[in-house]
Amino acid sequence: MKTLRIAALAAAFGIAGSIGGMARAADTGVATGDTAGKKIALSNSYAGNSWRQQMLKTWNRATADAIAAHLIKQTKVVNANASAPEQANQIESLIVEGWDAIVINAASPTALNGVIQEACDQHIVVVVFDGLATAPCAYKVAYDYTSMGKMEADFVGKHLDGKGNVLEVRGIAGVSVDDDIHKGIIEGFAADPGIKLAGSVHGNWTQTIAQREVASVLPSLPPINAVVTQGGDGWGTYEAFKAAGRPTPLIIFGNRQDELALWHDLLKADPKYDTFSASSAPGCASVAFWVAQQVLAGKTVPKMITLPLPVIHAADLDAWLKVMPPGSVATPVYTQAWTAQVIDANAAGVAPPASPIAKAGDM
């Protein structure tokens, strides 16, 4: 903590600005280097769905806080229309404009690598998140989706005492997130030979599609004890079971407000209805922002940062529902302090702190 005191002393003498880039609060914790004059932009590949809209909202909240606290000077959001060439062109404009850091939700894992390298060459800090890019010079903020699948499989295996039929509702075919969650589920069930994957459909993370797809396979399936999902598909799955007159199985939910409200109702009808809910959080944009700010402040940050998924258990259900408007996805706006903890955990190779419960107004 000695460096912290020196930094504070320097600030007291009004010379923090001149050594700003160098100041660092030891190796752990929040780096306090002067970033008051820095500008951080967001290049977002697509803004046309509610998850992305919420993502932009958390970005705006986090950056507004940072500007009010004089941690950065300016921010800007640039949206591409799901087109990688358009996004690459926009990032090139941002490079010309001289932003200190560019945070990117990429339209393609590889198509932006050239322009990202270009930005790094101009000493711009690049942080990619959610839609990752593979450019080696970029900091990557990502979820471990395989562990999410495994968590679901473990929960279901334990709950069914290692015996029963499971239906898998998957996401959009060909997207890496879907592959990763699926892989985790298969890995998890490998430990439970009594569990049988009776069927699998693609619900595309959309309630109405999940409902239609589940309804169309249900007649061909044996009694289903549990459904593993990927988020945005739990409510539709429940509706399909209800319409088919089948008993409600154990459904893993995915942090959407309609799913949590349904879970609340199911619990009221049957207090023993046991499940949990997990999904990626749109708030990862705020983590990516603070990662960029911390790099600018002089913190040593590993190139790969794995985020914990927000997991909701029955005990926290009411607290979450209270702060979630209809149609939203559960997410906190992450803070600088929490981000620093996650960075330190990743650097040390230990489990990161759990994702906190959202405050009112976060969504």
Binding site: P85, Q90, S93
Partner: protein
């Protein structure tokens, strides 16, 4: 050269308008962001014009025949997918695939000429064929650009950035071919006065096939440059180029009918369309407006021309 002095002034205005518009845009950009003035700034701003200027020239070939190509974007996506998949690992097969793409385009032109079909229908139908083929060879984004292609788009020639060098060369070639060479005049005649061209003994079929074949060549080059810039393939990458290329030709002084085209203007038009995004960004206007602004430019250009014609009449 038009004999009538009034028409001559209109012609000069038509040729000057895109140049003036681009100059005004560049002045505004440099005023807002002086950094853009440098070699590196220009290179970054204009890098993605490389595929667009070739796409504009491809569209110009088709519009010269008084046709319109609604499948160009999908075709560029197909070339992007094929080249990313094949050129790096199996260059010979990749080159053959490129050749097949060009021949397919020439064949499409011949088909339109023989069956006297509306190009808008044939090219729209073909766009689904291109997209389908692209998805067939490359269902998920991937592949890689051959090293020489990636190196080409990274070239930093002295004095002028690569996109500007390409633009000047392409505009010069287009101007020579369409406006100066005798076969170029014949080809424009296919769009302007097909009966006269036929009566003079030229084959309309061969002419249209040549125009579409040339469009295929330029479309192929656009797709290849896109592969070089993105270093990867995606069936959907090409999609925006259909409308952008049409807009570039029209803003550059071309007309939908009559075989009236301006190769130099089309290249300038491509820059204008591309720079709207950067200009909005520098003006701190949300980029969500980019499509609307590009559309508005097109409407303004077409509207002014209609007014001009009214005034002349």
């Amino acid at each position: 050269m038009p004999a009538e002095p009034g028409a001559g002034r209109a012609e000069t205005l038509r040729a000057l308008l895109p140049a003036l518009a681009l100059a005004a845009m560049l002045a505004l950009i440099v005023y807002l962001q002086p950094r853009a003035m440098s070699y590196n700034g220009m290179r970054l701003l204009l890098n993605f014009s490389l595929p667009l200027i070739f796409a504009a020239l491809a569209q110009l070939c088709v519009i010269a025949a008084s046709d319109i190509d609604l499948g160009l974007g999908a075709f560029i996506g197909l070339v992007n997918s094929l080249s990313a998949l094949l050129l790096a690992t199996r260059p010979l097969l990749g080159a053959l695939a490129m050749l097949a793409c060009v021949l397919a385009y020439a064949g499409m032109g011949a088909f339109i000429a023989v069956r006297r079909l509306p190009s808008i229908v044939v090219t729209l139908g073909a766009s689904f064929v291109w997209l389908g083929l692209a998805l067939l060879v490359l269902p998920t984004p991937g592949g890689s650009a051959p090293e020489w292609l990636a190196a080409l788009v990274r070239l930093k020639p002295p004095l002028l950035p690569l996109p500007v060098v390409f633009a000047i060369a392409l505009a010069a070639f287009g101007h020579w071919f369409f406006m100066r060479s005798s076969y170029g005049v014949v080809l424009r005649g296919i769009g302007g006065a097909p009966q006269a061209v036929a009566r003079a003994g030229w084959s309309l079929l061969a002419g249209r096939a040549a125009l579409y074949g040339l469009a295929g060549v330029f479309g192929c080059l656009a797709g290849l440059l896109l592969t070089g810039l993105n270093t990867t393939g995606d069936a959907n990458f090409g999609a925006p180029y259909t409308l952008l290329s049409i807009a570039a030709v029209i803003v550059g002084g071309g007309e939908f009918t009559g075989g009236i085209v301006a190769p130099v203007g089309a290249v300038l038009g491509a820059f204008i369309m591309l720079l709207t995004g950067s200009l909005l960004s520098f003006m701190d206007v949300s980029t969500d407006w980019q499509l609307s602004v590009q559309g508005a430019i097109l409407i303004v250009v077409l509207g002014t021309r209609a007014l001009q014609r009214q005034a002349a009449a």
